[in-house]
C-alpha cells in the first residue's frame, strides 16, 4: 500500500473523517398478506453499523456472501434508503438530503460494481456512458473539452481512445471494469465505494485492476471503501479493514494488525480458512473449521450473531447479549464479549454441532408462481 | 346419418323428415310470437279459424267452414268444423274458439306489450281494459257450431287476419293447465309460461314432442287424432342451423332432408347436384329508403326521381338476386290486393338523372348511405353486394356517398327509424295480402322512417291510407289502394322500390308434396319421403 495512508493507521481522529456512519440499519420488509401486504418480518441486511472512513484512506469491508456488505455500500450512497442511522459525508448529513441536493451530492461519492458487464448499459457506447455523468452534473463544457477529458480518463484507466466508440460487450472483463472505474471518475468524486471490484475477474487480471485502483488513489487523492469477500485482496488494498458478519461489524483494525492479531473468533476462522498459494504454509496451518452455514439475515440468532457457529461460545451471555463493538487496542475494535479471554487462551475452542440453515428464496407473493402470464408471453421462446 | 329409424325404408308414408330452419323459435305459443321460426312450427301444430289456401296468400276456411258478416262489417258469424280435437284430446268447439278470442283480448301486464302480443296490437289495437281502442269487441257462442265476433269498426284485414298463425286456436284446457297467459317482464327479459315453452297444444296434423335446445332440434310427431288427412310422416324435425352455408353443407352431407332460404348463388349448384330448389311466390319488397328529414335536397321530388333513375335495377336484380326475382314497380307484389299493374315503371337513365339533379341544383349531392351488416333477409340476400351495386350507380351520376354500416341489431334498425340515414336499404315481408299490411305500414304515419312529413303530401297520404283501410267494400278498397300505389311511385317517390325476391327452399329428390307458399306457410302434412 502507499505510504501516506499507512501513517494514519491506529490513530483515530474524527476530524479527518470524510464519511462517518452511525448506527446504520437497513431492514428489508418481508411482505406477505392475503389481500393487502402486511409486513411479516424483516431481512436484517444491515443491522447497526458504525464506522468512519478517513480522507485519503482505503477502508476494506469483508464478510461472507449475504452478510450485508453490498447493502451497506448502497445505503451509504442512499441508493437504498436506510431504515435508521446517519451517514455524514464531509460534514453533510446525507439522510436529510432529498431530490436535487442529493443528486448533486452524488457527484462526490461514486460506486464501482462487481459485475462489470451488467453494470454497464449494453446499449450505450463507452463514450455515452462516460459523458452521461458529465452531463448530469454540468461538467460537460463544450465538445472539444469533453472529448479531451474523455481521452484523459481512458488513458488514466489504461484504455485506448478508440474504445470510445465501442460497446461494453466488445471488451474483456478487465477492460470493462476499467470502463466502470472511468465512469466513476468522470465526475471527480471524493469517495469511491467499490463493491467487489475484482471478484468477477480472472486472477491474472485482478492484479491489474487492483494496481489501477491504487495508482488512481495516489494520483487523485481518492478515498476508497472497498467491499470484498476475498480477505487477501482486502488486506492488500486497504489501510483499515472491517469484518462483517450477518449485518454487523464484528471487528475493525488496521489491516496488518488484523492479520497478525485477529481478536474475534469469526475473523480468526475466516483468516485460517483463506487458502494461501504456499504449500509449506498450507501444510503447517492450523485450521479453524466453522460448522454450518451463515444463518439467514431474516432470522438472525439472538445475542451474538455468531454464537451458533462460534467454537469459543460461552453459555448464556453469548446467546442473549449482543456484544458491542469496543476498542480493545488503539484502532482495534472488536465485538466479542470474550475477546481478551480468547486471546489470552483462557477459553478453549470446542466442537460445534452444525445447525440447519433453511435456505430462503424470498419470492414475494405477487410474483406469479409460473413464468409467463399471457398467451403472447407464452408464444415467447 | 339421420336415418336410424328402420321404419322408413322406402315407404311412402312414415319416416322422419328433418328440415333445416334458419332461426330458433322464440317460443311455441304463436300468440306471443312474431318470428317466422315460431310460426313455421305453429303452422304444423295449430290451425286458425281462417287459413290460407295452399300455395297462395288467399284466405279460406280452415277450422271455420264459412263466415258471414253484417253489412257494416262489424259483426261476423263463424261456422265451426265439427269433430275436431286438440292434441290433448279435448274438443275444439264454439266455447274453445271464444275462449281463444277472449284470451287474446284479456291480456294483462306484460302480455299487453306491443312487443309481446305484437300481432294483436298491430291488428286489433287495445285490450279489454280499454286503455287503447280495440277493433275487437266481443265473441259470443251462438250455438255449438257457431260463434259471433263483434268488432268496433270495419277493417280491410278482417277476417283474413285470423289466418295469421298468431291467431291460431289453442287448447283452453292446456292453456289453463300450463298458465298460458303468465308472461312476466323481469329484468331485461321476458319469462314465458311453461305452456309457451313446452306444452303448445293445437289441432294441427303434427303435435309438439320436444325441443332439444342443445342440439337445436325441434321434434314434432304425427297427430293421429287429426280431423283431416293425417300426416304422412311419422316424425317431422326442424333442425335449426343459423348459418346458410352450414345448412347447405348439412344437406349435402345428408344430415337434413331440406332447408329453407338457400342462398340464391347456390340455387344452380344445388339443382345440378340433384336437389329440388323450390321458389315461392315473392311476398316481399326491397326498397332504397330515402329520409327527407336531414337532407333538405332530398325533399325535392326531382332529386328523389334522379336517384331512382340512376339505379340500374334490372341489372341489380339480374346479377344479385335469385333467378325468379323481379324488379319492383311499386311497394307490394302482384298478389296483394290493391296492386296496380299500370304503374309507369321507373326508367333507368343516368343521363336524365344527372340532368334532373342539375335542374334541382343538386349536382354535387352528398348523402349518407346506410347498409346493414350481420343480416340476410329473404328480400335482401346479400346487403353488401346490393349496396355495392347501388352505390356504384349513384356515384356514377355524381352523387357523393358517405357510407355507414351497422349491425342489423346493432343500431341499424333503431337509427334508421330515428331517421338518421339519408339513404338506406330495407324491405318488408308481408304477413297477409291486405295492402294495409304493406304501404299502410310504410307510409300510414307521416313520422315514419322516410319522414314523409317533410313533404306537403305526407300527412295527406297517411290519412288516405287509413281511409282505404276502413273501407268495408272490397272492390272500392282495391281501387283506392291502386290509385295510392300509382301516386306513391309516380308522384311522391318517398323511397325507391327495388325488387321482389322469392325465397326458396331446397329438398332432397325424394321429398314430395311440399307446396311452396308465398307466406312461407308450407304445410308438411302431405309430405312424403322416399
Amino acid at each position: 500500500m502507499t505510504a501516506p495512508a499507512e501513517t494514519a493507521t491506529g490513530v483515530s481522529t474524527v476530524d479527518d473523517a470524510l464519511v462517518t456512519v452511525e448506527g446504520l440499519k437497513v431492514h428489508f420488509p418481508i411482505k406477505r398478506g392475503v389481500i393487502l401486504d402486511r409486513t411479516v418480518g424483516y431481512v436484517y441486511a444491515v443491522d447497526g453499523i458504525d464506522l468512519s472512513v478517513r480522507r485519503g484512506e482505503t477502508y476494506g469491508l469483508v464478510g461472507e456472501s449475504g452478510c450485508g456488505k453490498s447493502t451497506f455500500g448502497r445505503a451509504l450512497l442512499k441508493l437504498t434508503p436506510p431504515t435508521a442511522g446517519k451517514v455524514v459525508f464531509d460534514g453533510v448529513d446525507l439522510s436529510s438530503l432529498k431530490g436535487e441536493p442529493l443528486r448533486k451530492m452524488r457527484r462526490r461519492i461514486q460506486m464501482i460494481f462487481q459485475d462489470p458487464l451488467s453494470s454497464l448499459d449494453p446499449r450505450q457506447s463507452v463514450e455515452s456512458i462516460l459523458v452521461e455523468g458529465l452531463r448530469a452534473h454540468d461538467l460537460d463544457k463544450g465538445k472539444a473539452e469533453t472529448s479531451k477529458r474523455l481521452r484523459e480518463l481512458l488513458t488514466s484507466v489504461g484504455l485506448p481512445s478508440t474504445a470510445l466508440r465501442k460497446y461494453p460487450h466488445e471488451f474483456s472483463g478487465g477492460q470493462r471494469q476499467r470502463i466502470g472505474i472511468a465512469r466513476a471518475l468522470t465526475v471527480e468524486p471524493d469517495l469511491i465505494v467499490a463493491d467487489e471490484p475484482v471478484s468477477a475477474l480472472d486472477v491474472s487480471v485482478q492484479a491489474q485492476v487492483v494496481n489501477l485502483l491504487e495508482d488512481l488513489q495516489e494520483q487523485l487523492g481518492l478515498t476508497y471503501l472497498v467491499i470484498a469477500h476475498d480477505l487477501a485482496v482486502v488486506r492488500h488494498i486497504s489501510d483499515r479493514v472491517g469484518v462483517m458478519y450477518l449485518g454487523g461489524l464484528v471487528e475493525e483494525a488496521g489491516s496488518d494488525t488484523l492479520y497478525a492479531d485477529p481478536l474475534h473468533p469469526y475473523t480468526r476462522a475466516l483468516l485460517s480458512a483463506v487458502p494461501v498459494p504456499d504449500p509449506l504454509l498450507e501444510d503447517r496451518r492450523e485450521r479453524i473449521l466453522l460448522a454450518g452455514d451463515l444463518p439467514s439475515p431474516a432470522n438472525p440468532p439472538t445475542g451474538c450473531r455468531f454464537h451458533t457457529r462460534c467454537p469459543w461460545r460461552q453459555a448464556k451471555r453469548c446467546d442473549t447479549e449482543r456484544p458491542v463493538l469496543r476498542e480493545i487496542a488503539p484502532g482495534h475494535k472488536v465485538a466479542c464479549h470474550y475477546a481478551e479471554d480468547i486471546k489470552a487462551g483462557r477459553i478453549r475452542a470446542h466442537e460445534v454441532e452444525p445447525i440447519l440453515v433453511q435456505a430462503d428464496d424470498g419470492i414475494s407473493p405477487d410474483t406469479a408462481l409460473t413464468g409467463p402470464a399471457s398467451v403472447t408471453e407464452v408464444l415467447g421462446p | 346419418q339421420s336415418q336410424r329409424d328402420p321404419g322408413n325404408q322406402g315407404g311412402k308414408t312414415g319416416g322422419t323428415l328433418t328440415f333445416g330452419a334458419e332461426g330458433k323459435p322464440k317460443l311455441f305459443d304463436p300468440f306471443y310470437a312474431t318470428d317466422g321460426a315460431t310460426f313455421r312450427i305453429s303452422r304444423q301444430v295449430f290451425e286458425g279459424l281462417v287459413g290460407f289456401k295452399p300455395g297462395s296468400a288467399e284466405a279460406g276456411p280452415e277450422l271455420a267452414t264459412k263466415w258471414e258478416s253484417s253489412t257494416d262489417g262489424k259483426s261476423w258469424t263463424f261456422t265451426l268444423k265439427q269433430g275436431v280435437k286438440f292434441h290433448d284430446g279435448t274438443d275444439f268447439n264454439a266455447e274453445a274458439a271464444c275462449f281463444n278470442f277472449n284470451r287474446w283480448y284479456n291480456q294483462k301486464g306484460a302480455g299487453q306489450s306491443s312487443s309481446v302480443s305484437e300481432y294483436w296490437v298491430d291488428n286489433f289495437g287495445g285490450f279489454a281494459d280499454g286503455a287503447k281502442p280495440s277493433l275487437f269487441k266481443s265473441c259470443t257462442v251462438k250455438d255449438a257450431q257457431n260463434i259471433v265476433v263483434e268488432l268496433t269498426g270495419a277493417s280491410s284485414k278482417f277476417p283474413d287476419v285470423l289466418g295469421l298463425p298468431s291467431f291460431s286456436m289453442q287448447s283452453p284446457t292446456a292453456m289453463q293447465k300450463y298458465n298460458a297467459d303468465n308472461v312476466v317482464a323481469q329484468g331485461e327479459s321476458f319469462i314465458f309460461p311453461e305452456y309457451a315453452m313446452k306444452q303448445p297444444t293445437g289441432t294441427g296434423p303434427f303435435k309438439f314432442v320436444n325441443y332439444d335446445t342443445t342440439n337445436n332440434l325441434i321434434e314434432l310427431g304425427r297427430f293421429d287424432g287429426y280431423h283431416g288427412d293425417k300426416a304422412k310422416l311419422d316424425k317431422l324435425n326442424f333442425k335449426v342451423i343459423a348459418d346458410e352455408t352450414a345448412r347447405k353443407q348439412a344437406l349435402q352431407s345428408g344430415d337434413i332432408d331440406g332447408y329453407d332460404y338457400p342462398a340464391p348463388a347456390d340455387w344452380a349448384k344445388l339443382k345440378t347436384d340433384g336437389f329440388q330448389v323450390v321458389p315461392r311466390d315473392a311476398f316481399n319488397v326491397m326498397y332504397l329508403g330515402i329520409t327527407q328529414k336531414n337532407n333538405a335536397k332530398l325533399q325535392d321530388f326531382r332529386v328523389r326521381k334522379a336517384i331512382s333513375m340512376a339505379i340500374n335495377r334490372e341489372q341489380l336484380v339480374k346479377s344479385q338476386l335469385p333467378e325468379t326475382a323481379t324488379v319492383a314497380t311499386q311497394f307490394m307484389p302482384k298478389i296483394v290486393q290493391g296492386y296496380n299493374p299500370n304503374v309507369k315503371p321507373i326508367e333507368y337513365s343516368p343521363e336524365k338523372a344527372k340532368a334532373l339533379l342539375a335542374e334541382a341544383g343538386a349536382s354535387n349531392l352528398e348523402v349518407n348511405f346506410w347498409w346493414p351488416s350481420e343480416v340476410t333477409r329473404p328480400y335482401m340476400p346479400n346487403p353488401q353486394d346490393i349496396f355495392g351495386a347501388i352505390a356504384a350507380d349513384l356515384r356514377n351520376v355524381g352523387i357523393k356517398l358517405n357510407v355507414v354500416t351497422k349491425p342489423w341489431n346493432g343500431g341499424y334498425l333503431t337509427e334508421i327509424d330515428q331517421a338518421k340515414a339519408d339513404l338506406f336499404l330495407l324491405g318488408w315481408t308481408g304477413d297477409q295480402s291486405a295492402a294495409a299490411n304493406w304501404i299502410g305500414t310504410f307510409f300510414g304515419n307521416a313520422e315514419n322512417r322516410f319522414y314523409t312529413k317533410s313533404s306537403p303530401w305526407g300527412e295527406d297520404l297517411a290519412k288516405r291510407l287509413d281511409a282505404a283501410d276502413v273501407t268495408a267494400d272490397k272492390a272500392q278498397r282495391e281501387k283506392l289502394y291502386q290509385e295510392l300505389n300509382r301516386q306513391i311511385v309516380e308522384e311522391y317517390l318517398p323511397a325507391v322500390p327495388l325488387s321482389h325476391s322469392p325465397p326458396a327452399f331446397v329438398l332432397k329428390k325424394d321429398v314430395k308434396n311440399l307446396t311452396p307458399s308465398p307466406l312461407t306457410a308450407e304445410e308438411f302434412s302431405p309430405v312424403t319421403k322416399g
Partner: protein, 310 residues
C-alpha cells in the same frame, strides 16, 4: 534482451482488429440476422408485399372500384366474371377486377397491421413505462386493468371495441385491434422495466446522479425494448389476422370500394364452394403476410436472445 517489437506488433494487431468500429448489440444482432434464412424469407415476403402495396396503383390493371364486368355477374346462376383477357383472376361478386382488388388490398392490410401495431405499441409503452417506472399503486392499478383486459378473449374484445364506434371505417378497425394489444405490450414492458429497475447499470446511473427521467428514458426504456420489438413484429401478424377477422365479421370498412383482404374473404363466403378462388386468394395473402411477419419476429427474437449470442 529479447526484442519485443514483434510481439507488440502482434498484440497491437490483434487489438486493432477488435477496436476499429463500435458494434452495438443491435448491429451484432443484425449481422446474425442477415445470415438467417428464416429471417430472410420473412423479410423478402414482407418487402415484396410492401412494394406491392406502394406500387399497387401503378401495378393494378384496373380501377379496383370499377364494376367493369357487372353485367357478367348473375348470382342466381352462380356466375361471376370468369378469367378473361385483361382480368387474369376474373371478377368478384360485383364485377370488379379481382386481381386489381387483390393488389390494392395489400395497402389496407399493411396499413391496418402497421398502424394498429404502432398504436398498440405506443399505448402499451405509455402504460408499461408508467407502471414500470413509477411502481407502487400506479403499477398495481395499471396491472389490474391489464388483468381485466386480458381476461377477455382478444378477438371478442376487438369485436366489441369495433362495435362501440358509431361509424365503422378502417381506422376503427385499427383502433379496435390496437387496443387489444395494449395490455400485452404494457405487461411485457412493465416486466422488463421492473427487472431493469434493480439492474446494476440503472443503479450505477442513479449513483452517478443522472436525473430520474433520463434514467427511465435513456436506460430503462431502451433496454426493455428488445422483447417489445420482437412482440411488435409478432403483433403485426396478429393484427392483420385480427383485422381480417373483424372485416370477415362485417365490422370492417363499410365502403368496399377500398378493397381489403379480410373483407374480400368475408364477402366471398357464400360462394366459396363454387368460386373458391375468391376466398383462397385473399386468405392466402393474409396467411403469407402474417407468416412473413411471424418469421421475422421469431428470428428477431432468436437473434436478440442473449442465450444465442456466442
Amino acid at each position: 534482451m529479447p526484442s519485443k517489437t514483434k510481439i507488440d506488433d502482434l498484440a497491437s494487431s490483434t487489438a486493432e482488429t477488435q477496436v476499429d468500429t463500435g458494434v452495438s448489440l443491435a448491429a451484432s444482432a443484425w449481422r446474425r440476422l442477415r445470415r438467417n434464412p428464416v429471417f430472410l424469407t420473412g423479410a423478402v415476403i414482407i418487402l415484396l408485399f410492401v412494394l406491392i402495396a406502394l406500387l399497387a396503383p401503378l401495378l393494378a390493371p384496373h380501377d379496383p372500384a370499377a364494376r367493369l364486368l357487372a353485367d357478367q355477374v348473375i348470382k342466381a346462376r352462380n356466375e361471376i366474371p370468369a378469367v378473361q383477357p385483361g382480368h387474369i383472376l376474373g371478377g368478384d361478386l360485383q364485377g370488379r377486377d379481382f386481381f386489381s382488388r387483390l393488389l390494392v388490398g395489400s395497402q389496407q392490410t399493411l396499413l391496418v397491421g402497421v398502424l394498429a401495431t404502432l398504436i398498440g405499441l405506443i399505448g402499451g409503452l405509455i402504460m408499461g413505462t408508467l407502471a414500470g417506472a413509477l411502481g407502487g399503486w400506479v403499477d398495481s392499478l395499471v396491472m389490474r386493468a391489464v388483468d381485466v383486459m386480458l381476461s377477455i378473449p382478444s378477438l371478442l374484445l376487438a369485436v366489441s371495441i369495433g362495435l362501440l364506434f358509431t361509424q365503422a371505417n378502417q381506422f376503427t378497425v385499427i383502433l379496435a385491434v390496437a387496443i387489444v394489444q395494449i395490455p400485452i405490450f404494457a405487461r411485457l414492458l412493465r416486466g422488463s422495466m421492473l427487472a431493469q429497475r434493480h439492474s446494476d447499470h440503472v443503479l450505477a446511473a442513479r449513483a452517478l446522479g443522472v436525473k430520474p427521467a433520463a434514467i427511465v428514458f435513456r436506460h430503462m426504456l431502451p433496454n426493455s425494448l428488445g422483447p417489445v420489438i420482437v412482440q411488435s413484429t409478432l403483433v403485426l401478424a396478429v393484427a392483420i389476422i385480427d383485422a381480417a377477422a373483424l372485416s370477415f365479421l362485417g365490422l370492417g370498412n363499410p365502403d368496399d370500394n377500398i378493397p381489403e383482404w379480410g373483407q374480400m374473404l368475408g364477402g366471398s363466403q357464400t360462394v366459396i364452394d363454387s368460386h373458391p378462388g375468391l376466398a383462397f386468394w385473399p386468405a392466402g395473402c393474409i396467411v403469407v403476410v402474417a407468416l412473413g411477419f411471424t418469421l421475422m419476429g421469431e428470428s428477431l427474437r432468436d437473434a436478440l436472445d442473449p442465450k444465442n449470442r456466442r
